[in-house]
């Protein structure tokens, strides 16, 4: 069994679904997504949690240019892969409630995007990584622009140009690294073995950072995000926030920092400051949001800022925290956006001031909302807690003041999230809210899955954390070794060609 199955299965599924133009489309899409989940689950159960690369496929693609189709599964990408296969069926299920026009195109694009993101997460070849990166962007552009809100044309264009710009600079960095490798390959292990000068590493680092910072997004590259999240259809927002932004986090862990360790070390203080500044900035804006979906969008910037800061602090704890938090943030944010989808579908508004007192009308909904909310504000025994705890601990090891500021995210998060809950669910039942009907079967199922995941991962996070332990320690330590070798004066920089 190889990981390439996980890439090609959704691709075939996308083609198949595109051809089915009737009511069965969504069911076929869901079946394929579940099949993908089952295949991935089989792989993960047989996965040996050491630092090795498993289920590898290595085929020549453009051998003359040094491009190979190399994919594999190891402790670094197993959690993003799990996130991808886990959330796609949930998102498809969540879309059942909408009667989208051209549903076949809609579900085909979701599956195509899954294949793209899977390529990003499993690629061990720089070129393949880039191709996956862009292949995931095209479908989400069309999903947002075809089924989005009123201002979708302008906003999705901004989103596309923004992300495309970032990724082109990453492409340049990848080609540049390729030209430095002795055998002219794109293989990631060859990239790891390069000995570049500090200046070269600095340039490579910034080129990668631009792509990843835009994707996550990290302050000040976030300006596309709130608009796009707000205007996108619910499924689009879930895909963007739940899975796609993790491409940026994962890229930083797998590519940016290990290929340019000294460049990273040199600029670390600036990017970590940006990440932490983003946390505070986004939280402050989230306080004042009236539109619930927009509020969640800003809260996502804050949470991702913390993940980014934890990664950039670059300790075993921090990266491990980022790993688990990628999964948990994905689950929580999809839950939150689904909740807003439910509210806006029923009441045609997301304005916090017009809502209120829904809890009385819909007790089941209130419970589910509360669980997702608590996961999102990182209450102990929910899934958000362990990740944020590790991330803050790592930030503390880097700098106590930064961790104090970063820790505000939890307090701020609790404040704006609970305020949102209060305004929507409690108090007097407003005229609009009175129309609210409780969850239907499909919604119960989706929220049920999410709530179970939140609680299970909150009580026993080790069920996934043990998968990445060994690989993360190995990667973090090897990079730190390279950095400290230079700092202690050992010259490992080879003469340049």
């Amino acid at each position: 069994m190889t990981v390439s199955i996980l890439i090609f299965l959704p691709l075939i599924a996308a083609l198949a679904v595109a051809l089915i133009k009737n009511q069965a489309t969504k069911h076929v899409a869901l079946l394929f997504a579940i099949a993908e989940l089952v295949v991935a689950a089989l792989m993960i159960t047989r996965f040996i949690p050491d630092a090795s690369m498993q289920y590898v496929t290595d085929l020549p693609w453009m051998p003359k240019m040094g491009v190979y189709f190399t994919v594999g599964l190891d402790g670094i990408n197993i959690i993003p892969v799990l996130l991808n296969v886990l959330l796609i069926p949930v998102i498809i299920l969540a879309s059942y409630n909408h009667d989208y026009k051209n549903a076949n195109a809609f579900y085909a694009l979701i599956l195509f995007m899954q294949a793209g993101m899977m390529t990003v997460f499993t690629a061990l070849d720089g070129f393949l990584f880039y191709v996956g990166w862009e292949a995931a962007l095209i479908p989400i552009y069309f999903i947002c622009a075809l089924w989005g809100g009123e201002n979708r044309i302008r906003i999705t264009m901004k989103f596309f140009i923004y992300t495309f710009a970032g990724s082109l600079f990453m492409l340049l960095a990848i080609i540049y690294l390729h030209l430095q490798t002795p055998n002219r390959t794109y293989s990631i292990s060859d990239f790891y073995d390069l000995h570049l000068t500090l200046k070269q590493q600095g340039l490579v680092f910034w080129a990668f950072f631009l792509a990843f910072a835009i994707k996550m997004p990290i302050f000040p590259f976030h300006t596309w995000q709130p608009d796009t999240y707000t205007e996108a259809p619910s499924a689009g927002t879930m895909l963007l926030s739940g899975i796609m932004l993790k491409m940026g986090v994962y890229g930083a862990i797998r590519w940016m920092i290990p290929v340019a360790p000294q460049g990273f070390d040199h600029w670390q203080y600036i990017v970590i400051a940006l990440a932490v500044a983003g946390i505070v900035y986004a939280s402050l804006i989230a306080f004042n949001q009236k539109d619930g979906k927009r509020l969640v969008a800003y809260s996502s910037i804050a949470h991702v800022g913390l993940i980014g800061a934890g990664v950039i602090a670059w300790t075993v704890t921090g990266v491990q925290g980022a790993m688990i938090q990628m999964l948990n943030h994905g689950i929580n944010v999809v839950g939150l956006f689904f909740i807003w989808d439910i509210i806006s579908r029923r009441l045609k508004t997301r304005d916090l001031d017009e809502l209120g007192g829904i809890a009385k009308a819909a007790p089941q909904f209130a419970i589910a909302f509360l669980i997702v909310l608590l996961g999102s504000v990182a209450l102990p025994l929910t899934n958000g807690f362990i990740g944020e705890f590790l991330l803050l601990k790592s930030l503390y090891e880097y700098n106590i003041w930064l961790s104090a500021v970063g820790g505000l995210t939890i307090i701020f998060g609790a404040v704006y999230m609970l305020r949102m809950y209060k305004k929507v669910m409690q108090g007097e039942t407003s005229a609009i809210s009175a129309l609210f009907t409780d969850l239907n079967g499909n919604e119960k199922l989706v929220l049920g899955i999410i709530c179970v995941l939140i609680i299970v991962l909150g009580i026993y996070p080790n069920v996934v954390m043990h998968l990445s332990d060994a690989a993360v320690s190995k990667l973090v330590n090897s990079v730190n070794d390279k950095i400290s070798q230079v700092q202690s004066g050992v010259n490992i920089i080879a003469p340049q060609r």
Binding site: W61, M62, V131, I161, L171, L172, L179
Partner: protein, 461 residues
């Protein structure tokens, strides 16, 4: 050589067919003849090529590859022309004949081994194009296009000829190999005459390629000419232009690259920016394509700027990707133009609903032109960027990247119009069968080359 002979004889046959009013035989005869010519060219692939006719022409792999690609592009364009020419002119046979004469000139341009042959090739091609541009006799814009193209073209040919003459004055020969050897034997004291000659040749060739600042004829000529002729000019002619350029600079002038490199760098950067930024402001799809073709000339020049072993590969794949995508764009444009009687972006509104197939192939073409992965256009840009970076032209590549980002905006404009701007319900366009064939095949090729470029990218020249 057989290819060139066949392509030269074929139009004469077509003219006779025209005389005998065998209109229905024109297209099949042309297509079969061209496919045979391409087959003949490929048959010589493994032959040991030597310059023939006193070093006049050399049918090496370079020439074969570019001959085949120009011939096949012409076939695709001709297949789109089945009813097109009948509508705009009563002399249909002449159309096919003149187009093939132009193609014969193009074969000379990619196979020359002597500067006189280059000149003859360019002239055969250009004179045919002057006629083609003005073939809508009673159309004002078409006449304007023809006249402008002729005046400017004649002018630039003068530059080219003067450059060739100066080089002859310095070296005493027209032959590429003699010129190359002359440079090697005079490493220090190269005559200023020679340098001037090189510059004038650059001017002449950049004109044919439509590179800035010699691009001013392009928008008006492209807009005024019949759309199919525009497609021919912006794909086949451009490919031939860059191939001629590369052949000369790779074989004859490569040793003095320090001299012409800065000039070409400036031309490339100007071409990229002028093409892209002007394309941003266009409201007409056809005119946008004209300006985007200028910017693509800039990307094609990358191959000359980053002269190296892979240059021919880069140009081949870039030109193939660009030609195929442009043929799709012009093909869809012709259909839309016939219905809406306008080439404004808004005439594409709602095409995604009324004709999903047309909208899909045009989307593939636009993504390819914009250089999005999994399309052939991306592989072309990837080769160009790699080549330029390997020559440490980092700033040039960064400028190219900025331009690629700008180009997204105008290429996506038509995608946005087709899918996201519904407007009034538009009637379904009738798409003739051969259009479906050409457009579908081109879209398929674009994706196949994007996914598995090894098919043509790894050719050993």
């Amino acid at each position: 050589m057989n290819t060139l002979i066949l392509i030269s004889v074929l139009p004469i046959l077509l003219l006779y067919l025209g005389v005998f009013k065998a209109k229905n035989a024109l297209l099949p005869v042309t297509v079969i003849g061209l496919l045979a010519a391409a087959g003949l060219a490929i048959a010589g692939w493994n032959a040991n090529a030597t310059p023939i006719y006193h070093d006049m022409v050399l049918f090496d792999r370079f020439s074969i590859a570019f001959s085949v690609i120009t011939i096949l592009s012409t076939v695709l364009i001709l297949l789109l022309s089945k009813d097109y020419f009948e509508k705009i002119s009563s002399h249909v046979a002449e159309y096919y004949a003149v187009m093939l004469f132009s193609l014969a000139g193009i074969i000379c341009m990619v196979s020359y081994y002597n500067l006189t042959m280059l000149f003859i090739g360019i002239e055969i091609m250009s004179v045919s194009l002057y006629i083609l541009a003005g073939i809508k006799k009673r159309d004002f814009a078409s006449n304007e296009a023809s006249l402008k193209y002729f005046l400017m073209g004649a002018f630039s040919t003068g530059f080219l000829l003067f450059g060739i003459a100066l080089i002859y004055g310095a070296t005493g020969s027209f032959s590429i190999s003699v010129i190359r050897d002359w440079i090697l034997t005079h490493p220090r004291g190269i005559d200023p005459l020679f340098h001037t000659g090189v510059l004038l040749i650059i001017v002449g060739l950049c004109f044919k390629l439509g590179a800035a600042p010699f691009h001013f004829w392009t928008p008006d000529v492209y807009e005024g000419s019949p759309s199919l002729i525009t497609a021919f000019m912006s794909t086949v002619v451009k490919t031939a232009g860059i191939a001629a350029f590369l052949r000369l600079f790779q074989s004859a002038f490569s040793t003095i690259s320090d001299f012409w490199m800065p000039v070409l760098l400036v031309i490339t950067v100007l071409t990229l920016f002028i093409g892209n930024i002007t394309a941003l402001y266009q409201q007409s799809f056809k005119r946008m394509l004209a300006f985007s073709s200028i910017s693509h000339a800039g990307y094609l020049l990358f191959a000359v700027v980053a002269l190296g072993a892979a240059s021919a590969n880069s140009v081949l794949i870039y030109a193939a990707a660009y030609s195929i995508a442009s043929i799709i764009a012009f093909g869809v444009l012709i259909l839309v133009q016939q219905q809406a009687d306008s080439d404004h972006f808004s005439s594409f509104n709602g095409l995604g609903k009324s004709n999903p197939f047309l909208a899909f192939v045009l989307t593939v073409a636009m993504l390819s032109l914009a250089g999005i992965p999994l399309t052939a256009g991306f592989i072309g840009k990837f080769y160009m960027f790699t080549g330029a970076l390997s020559r440490l032209q980092v700033w040039l590549v960064i400028i190219a990247v900025v331009n690629a980002i700008i180009s997204i905006y105008y290429y996506f404009k038509v995608i946005v119009a087709m899918y996201f701007r519904g407007g009034e319900e538009r009637t379904v366009l009738a798409v003739p069968g051969y259009f479906v064939f050409v457009l579908g095949l081109s879209a398929l090729l674009t994706i196949v080359l994007g996914v598995y470029p090894t098919l043509i990218a790894d050719i050993n020249f």
